[in-house]
């Protein structure tokens, strides 16, 4: 996986790690995945494409914010637990300040119908963005060991349970998740 001929670049200092993730986070409007791939793989080359896909899969399947998990994983690989903290802080510090400023400004304007309307429109778009992320990932299920019928069944059951029946998430994720992992275990070769 690692190229034999070239030495893979890596952040040399904690400051470089912090700034790298800050810069990445500040470009991530409406989602950081696309930017993370461009920055970490294409520009900084801290990861090869294969490594990125692998890291992302784990970051996504672990609980917690994907990009934060990715930051923790990469940071700890380079600098241990200090690296994990620094990468996570880099991901959050500047965006937190910005979002609090936005919220404060918005609170002053919330009485204006236009401001409330603008945010209502953005909320509808945001809902669409999140649903679309799911749709974009769906093709990855084609090669899932569970097979298409089971994937569709589990997906529909999850959707109905969460979106229509409004069941507590724990019931859905733990119940269906355990079932799905068990089924996958049986179908995988030892």
């Amino acid at each position: 996986m690692n190229s034999i001929t070239s030495v893979q670049p890596r952040p040399q200092t904690l400051t470089e790690l912090f700034l790298g993730f800050s810069w990445l986070a500040l470009q991530g409007f409406g989602g950081v995945l696309a930017v993370a791939q461009r920055e970490l793989v294409e520009k900084k080359r801290w990861l090869s494409r294969d490594e990125f896909i692998e890291e992302w899969a784990v970051a996504q399947l672990m609980p917690g914010p994907n990009v934060i998990n990715l930051a923790i994983s990469l940071g700890s690989r380079y600098f241990g637990w200090r690296g994990a903290w620094v990468a996570m802080a880099g991901m959050l510090a500047f965006p937190l300040v910005i979002v609090l400023i936005l919220a404060t400004v918005y609170a002053q304007l919330a009485h204006l119908p236009a401001a409330a309307g603008a945010l209502r429109g953005m909320a509808a778009v945001a809902a669409g963005l999140i649903a679309a992320t799911g749709l974009k990932l769906a093709p990855a299920l084609k090669i899932n060991v569970l097979g298409k019928p089971l994937c569709v069944l589990l997906g529909v059951a999850t959707f109905v349970g969460v979106a229509w029946l409004r069941l507590p998430l724990a019931v859905v994720v733990l119940g269906l998740g355990a079932l799905a992992c068990g089924l996958a275990w049986r179908r995988l070769p030892a």
Partner: protein, 191 residues
Amino acid sequence: MTELNLSPGDWLTLFLHFASLSLLSVGGAITTSTDMHRFLVDRQGWLTDAQFNTSVALAQAAPGPNILFVALMGWNVGLNTGLPWAPAAAMVLAMVGIMLPSSLLSYATSNWSHRNRHLRGVRAFKQGFAPIVVALLVATGWVMASATGRTLDHWPLWLLAALSSLVVWRTKLHLLWLLGAGAVLGALGWV
């Protein structure tokens, strides 16, 4: 809304609620936002529907990880108490709650799973959860769209959500254009 009066027990409950969701937030914390809504808005009445949706929408519109919507929810719960120190305190409790358990687990397992990615159990976990993660994201979009109104007279909002979903799914248009378009349509009162 009238000023909230949170007891010490309520502050603990706030922290524990987010902490309990942390390890369930497979596929990103946004997938637990349905449960946050159930708890913060429907059950406790600590946030209004508008504040809840504002928190999600502002964090989505701003740069950075979407997890910051949790920071804004905490901030707004604090604002509702009317106490000057409360927004920052509630924000820290909410963020530490939602991030600490999952981050510790992530730290502990990231190197381990990288070394053991060929194990049958690791593969079964990844494969089993994949369809559920995908469906959770779509369900979350659905819940967020229906938070603004489930009835047919809100059809322009549904149409906007569906259209932006389609555009993101099928094109590489920068998300900022879509959020901007949503803001303009909303400001003009069309949706």
